[in-house]
């Protein structure tokens, strides 16, 4: 029986872990997945060594545009960890506010793309419609739609304007209402449920073994959340961690939707605090002493990890970045094998590896990795022949007729 490899990608933007999947299928069933990475490799860690600490914050912001405040957040955490720098309370609230706004828009983006992936363009468009106000809020608060440029070592770069509070609350209420609606719709819609429930299950053991984190792990019942476990600004707010037991795509959807609602609650706590907590937003940092620091932050997709080693100058000597997807992507191996191709794609997407542009360039390889553009036609015919045999042995004659035609061109 001929197996066939479907190349997926490589036009897929995922920071250092941009991927190119070689999906080995038998018919429609996935038997193996292999990933080739490095298409988007830009060498951040090396570039960072040529930049000052302040500049690296903006560099890591550009690791990825979706959670573009998570990386700076973790980066400043790491720098502050070297010298145990404390930040003012108001700055903490501002950091939390930005982080949670980002989480909302990122999770909504996931809902959009998941919708797009299962061919539900209406869901895509609707979720995007609700995402747009969040971006506008971000623009109001930080001045930018995506790359916020708010984080600084020792605080934040821009104060929050208290007069914006009445504008933010209605948007949050709207989002919350819509999310409740979406959760209900996902629960009721039989077609949607059949596409998501029980699909691409990642067991708890696998999640732990593969060191998964973030919503991917939480959907599998692993109770971790950096915001609660190792808070650096989040100690000022209450964070409820959402954990679901099943690990399928449906649970991943549920976790994300509930997290959006939780984020709305956290933002409301911040807004309440802003009226009371005034004062400086940044501590002056004069020097970073030699040493090493670890910073992490719960990005929408999981734990962002930054390790910074300083030699006392104003540049990092080593700057290690680990995006959550780096740990989450290898879980594909556990969750995608043995399920139909159409499901594999949504499972791949369910980890949320910034999956907006997978469907790109085409190149085929055979099982030995040789290019097979030449006999691909032959292969595909063979496959179709096999399919017809499997599918309807009785009506074989009709189909055979058709294929004789195609072979004798």
């Amino acid at each position: 029986m001929s197996k066939c490899r479907i190349p997926l990608g490589p036009f897929h933007p995922l920071l250092e872990e941009a991927e190119f999947f070689n999906i080995k299928v038998e018919g429609e069933k996935v038997v193996d997945i292999e990933m080739e990475t490095g298409w988007m490799h830009r060498g951040h860690e090396k570039i960072s060594e040529t930049k000052t600490f302040t500049q690296s914050i903006f560099l890591v912001e550009r690791i990825c545009g979706i959670c573009s405040t998570s990386h700076p957040f973790a980066c400043v955490n790491a720098i502050e960890d070297i010298d145990n720098i404390e930040i003012p309370e108001r700055a903490k609230y501002i950091r939390v506010l930005i982080g949670e706004l980002e989480r909302i828009h990122s999770h909504l983006l996931w809902v959009c793309l998941a919708g797009h992936f299962i061919g539900y363009d209406t869901l895509w468009m609707w979720a995007w419609k609700y995402r747009e106000p969040i971006l506008q809020l971000s623009e109001m608060i930080t001045g930018n739609r995506n790359h916020y440029a708010m984080m600084r070592v020792g605080g934040v770069g821009r104060d929050f304007d208290n007069s914006l509070i009445p504008k933010i609350i209605p948007v949050l209420d709207m989002i919350e209402k819509k999310m409740v609606m979406l959760a209900g719709a996902a629960n009721d819609d039989p077609v949607l449920r059949s596409r998501l429930k029980g699909v691409g299950v990642l067991t708890k053991e696998d999640a732990i073994n593969y060191c998964a984190n973030g919503p991917t792990a939480r959907a599998s019942g692993v109770d971790i959340d950096v915001r609660r476990d190792d808070p650096t600004a989040y100690e000022v707010v209450d964070v409820k961690v959402i954990v679901t037991p099943n690990g399928d795509v449906y649970d991943k959807l549920v976790v994300r939707v509930l997290e959006i609602i939780e984020s709305c609650h956290i933002i409301k706590q911040c807004l309440k605090a802003f009226e009371k907590v005034q004062g400086p937003i940044i501590n002056k940092v004069k020097e970073i002493s030699p040493g090493e620091g670890i910073g992490r932050y719960e990005a929408p997709r999981g734990e962002v990890f930054h390790y910074i080693r300083s030699d006392g100058s104003n540049r990092p000597l080593r700057h290690k970045v680990r995006a959550p997807s780096f740990s989450n992507i290898p879980t594909y191996k556990a969750s995608c094998v043995g399920i139909p191709l159409a499901d594999a794609l949504i499972t791949l997407a369910s980890v949320d590896p910034c999956y907006c542009c997978t469907e790109r360039s085409i190149k085929a390889f055979d099982i030995n990795g040789k290019k097979i553009e030449h006999n691909l036609l032959h292969l595909s015919r063979k496959k179709t022949e096999r399919l017809q045999r499997e599918l309807i042995p009785k009506e074989k004659s009709l189909i055979d007729g058709i294929f004789d035609l195609s072979l004798s061109r």
Binding site: G38, E45, I224
Partner: protein
């Protein structure tokens, strides 16, 4: 919670050198031969999660820092293993932790550290790249390229 940490440091007292303790962060040097045992203890007994490993090139060699995090307390345990510049080799921890697969491949790619016992050690990021051959490791410093070292007067 504190006890777990103490038991750990008691148990491996004579295997650690140069322990740096900070708030929620522990760094300690270990020997290459003890690495697997310590990783096994951290991962399976203390139920730590392997966040990532950081390879760094320092003046006299390469070092790899393993970042294990205990999610119940938010504490980091960072064993540091040193290896030589010429022939960097470290024991692989993939037999214990499946998730280390890509991490070690990445370090092999960028720094050229060979992991003994890794099933499938090939490049991760610059694989099949037209620019980088198999022995190009872009994160390594090109030492003393422009400098001609003169004899000491």
């Amino acid at each position: 919670m504190k006890e777990k940490e103490q038991i750990f440091f008691e148990k491996f007292k004579d295997k650690f050198t140069k322990i740096i303790k900070k708030k929620k962060r522990n760094y300690f040097n270990v020997k290459n031969k003890d690495l697997i045992e310590i990783a096994d203890y951290l991962f399976n007994t203390m139920k730590c999660r392997l966040s990532i490993c950081t390879a760094t090139e320092v003046y006299d060699g390469l070092e790899v820092l393993y970042h294990f995090t205990d999610d119940t307390t938010g504490t980091y345990y960072n064993p540091r293993v040193k290896t030589s510049l010429k022939n960097p080799e470290i024991n692989s921890i993939t037999p214990i932790i499946e998730g280390a697969n890509w991490i070690e491949r990445e370090m092999y790619d960028l720094f050229g550290i060979k992991f003994k016992g890794h099933q499938d050690l090939k490049k991760l990021l610059t694989i099949n790249s037209p620019e980088f051959s198999e022995d190009d490791h872009p994160m390594r410093f090109k030492r003393n390229q422009k400098v001609k070292v003169k004899s000491q007067k």
